[in-house]
């Protein structure tokens, strides 16, 4: 009775066919992605508060902006990889959450470029502020979506570990 109930619950789990070792590797990639998100947030906040806080503007070639943009590119690469893994190895939720994060990252990048190209400062006008606002909110949304994808990967690992599968 207990076993049949557990088998029924196991069928509902989204384990995929990547295997335990592959899932652990994907989880490490997700953790690395979180560190990048953290760096992205800190550099963004630094630019926001210390550079564009007053009347100054930020340019595309400024070192802090370069770090911010490189971090965003790496974020995109890592999230895209997790999405592809999700699609290829039968983890639908991981794929869908990561796809959402990828779309958010792309639109956020466009918002960031609008911010830079229309002046790059607080007093550069409504378009600049709108670009910055879209960038900030979508990067945050991407973080949330990546987090849910990570939780699904982690759950699959825990299920495999507990049920002694590889």
């Amino acid at each position: 009775m207990e076993d049949s109930l557990r088998v029924a619950s196991l069928r509902k789990e989204e384990i995929g066919n990547l295997g335990l070792a592959g899932l652990r590797l994907t989880l490490r990639l997700c953790y690395a992605n979180f560190i990048l998100y953290l760096l992205l947030y800190v550099t963004g906040m630094y630019i926001n508060i210390y550079i564009t806080g007053g009347v100054n503007t930020v340019g595309i070639s400024d070192i802090s902006n370069m770090i911010h943009m490189i971090t965003a590119i790496l974020n995109f690469v890592f999230t895209f990889t997790v999405m592809v893994v999700g699609f290829l190895y039968g983890m639908r939720k991981v794929a869908v959450f990561s796809l959402g994060a990828v779309v958010c990252l792309v639109i956020a990048t466009v918002g960031g470029l609008v911010f830079l190209e229309t002046g790059g400062g607080r007093i550069s006008g409504g378009e600049t502020l709108a670009g910055g606002w879209i960038m900030s909110i979508l990067f945050m949304l991407a973080l949330f979506l990546s987090y849910y994808a990570t939780l699904k990967v982690m759950r699959a690992i825990k299920v495999l570990e507990v049920t002694n599968r590889t």
Partner: protein
């Protein structure tokens, strides 16, 4: 973020606790921001109560840490307004308090995220390792 990009501290704001506290209710964007911070902090309380019931110490500690981080963020938010008033107008401390506020709010988000790791682990453990209760209630 809306506050970050669009809110400007009123020039008439006085550098005392009551004036700053009342200013939180004046601008709709700022009020919404504070209301969401209070709401997310209060939502940690039922999580702590439930986690204590099933002895998930890590979850209790992580949410207690998140509440503490948000309270530090609240103090820094008030300081941001204090240093931004026209009579004080200290740009360096204003920036520093904003940066600390943003960082500790992110810390709170990370701590609540981390708590889900332990909740998922416990959920899987209960589902696949603990005895399944039967309809008669016996185990």
């Amino acid at each position: 973020m809306l506050v970050n990009y669009y809110y400007v501290i009123p020039s008439t704001l006085q550098p005392d606790f009551l004036s700053i506290f009342l200013a939180l209710f004046e601008a709709p964007s700022l009020f919404a921001h504070v209301a969401f911070a209070v709401l997310s902090t209060s939502m940690s309380i039922p999580v702590i109560v439930l986690a204590r019931r099933i002895r998930l110490t890590q979850v209790v500690l992580l949410h207690a840490g998140a509440i503490t981080a948000r309270m530090v963020g609240f103090v820094c938010g008030m300081l941001f307004m204090y240093f931004g008033t026209s009579s004080i107008s200290n740009g360096d401390l204003d920036n520093l308090s904003t940066f600390i506020m943003a960082s500790v709010f992110l810390t709170a988000v990370i701590l609540t995220f981390m708590s889900r790791i332990f909740i998922v682990s416990e959920d899987v453990r209960i589902k696949y390792q603990a005895p399944v209760p039967t309809l008669t209630g016996s185990r």
